[in-house]
């Protein structure tokens, strides 16, 4: 996995490419009823923000994706009830399979 320093370097390249001086569409701020391109300081902050965002996504994105993909606790409890009723309180049960499917679809990065 990339280090924060490596992602900062990549973010610098990506943000530099966005500048209109480099042929990009630019990043724009709305200040005092005027739309103007980011200042150097704002571009520097954009690099920091992008690097931190990319690092967080790399480290924690899978966890958030899993959190959003899991069924509600109520639905999971219902699955567990039916699994236990059917004598499938193990890896053959629907609850286990549903959890495993989410984890497999959103693997923890190595």
């Amino acid at each position: 996995m990339a280090t924060l320093e490596e992602l900062t370097t990549a973010a610098q390249t990506a943000i530099d490419a966005e500048k209109t001086a480099n042929g990009g569409d630019g990043k724009w701020a709305q200040v005092n009823n005027e739309r103007r391109e980011f200042t150097d300081a704002e571009y520097d902050q954009a690099v920091t923000d992008k690097a931190n965002y990319d690092y967080d996504e790399q480290e924690n994105g899978y966890s958030r994706d899993r959190q959003e993909a899991y069924d509600s606790v109520v639905d999971q409890l219902d699955l567990l009830y039916h699994d236990m009723t059917a004598g499938k309180g193990d890896k053959t049960g629907e609850w286990y399979k549903s959890i495993k499917a989410v984890k497999d679809a959103n693997p923890k990065p190595e």
Partner: protein
């Protein structure tokens, strides 16, 4: 003016996509109102609606401003509860990060977001700046969500506005209004 009145002090609508906007913040604010949050009112209410991003899954993150510039220090704490139409709810919280999170939005109706924030202690240089937040929106699926929670910038300083900035790409459109709650 009547006690308890809401007084509109700043207002701005995005007409061309931008990466950041500031509501309040004096001359650094996005409108031509040049209003900076001060002790004229004890509590301010920031309302926004129809906030759309230029990229699916992008989010308009939030920072408070000090003399018109976003405070980018890692001193933001928050706690939130998210409710979804498709999966119940989950909790979220962060300490010592350099922004206050917002949920991902979308680019077309009904994926917009609307919310209300109550801003406390902003003008008090001896206290932290606090905000409560209530918002609702829809993902691109669409799945509807609601969020309620609180933000805190844990620095005893005066803050004078709120910045929304895109975590990627731009904020395509949005309407913002800031009100003072008359003493």
């Amino acid at each position: 003016m009547a006690a308890g009145s809401l007084i509109k002090v700043d207002e701005f609508s995005i007409s061309s996509a931008v990466s950041s906007v500031i509501i309040g913040g004096g001359s650094s604010g996005s409108s031509s109102e040049n209003f900076a949050i001060d002790n004229t009112y004890d509590v301010y209410i920031l309302q926004y609606h129809d906030l759309f991003m230029s990229g699916d899954g992008n989010a308009a993150r939030i920072r408070f401003t000090v003399s018109g510039s976003a405070d980018t220090s890692s001193n933001y704490d928050n706690a939130r509860q998210h409710s979804y139409s498709n999966q119940g709810y989950w909790d979220g919280a962060n300490q010592n990060i350099d922004y206050m999170p917002n949920l991902s939005g979308g680019t077309t109706s009904p994926e917009g977001q609307q919310g209300v924030m109550h801003l406390f202690n902003f003008s008090n240089a001896s206290e932290y700046s606090f905000a409560t937040v209530e918002l609702l929106g829809a993902t691109e699926t669409p799945e509807y969500y609601g969020v309620n929670g609180g933000f805190c910038l844990t620095v005893a300083q005066a803050t004078d506005g709120v910045q929304f900035y895109a975590n990627a790409n731009n904020i395509a459109s949005g309407n913002f209004a800031l009100y003072g709650l008359s003493k």
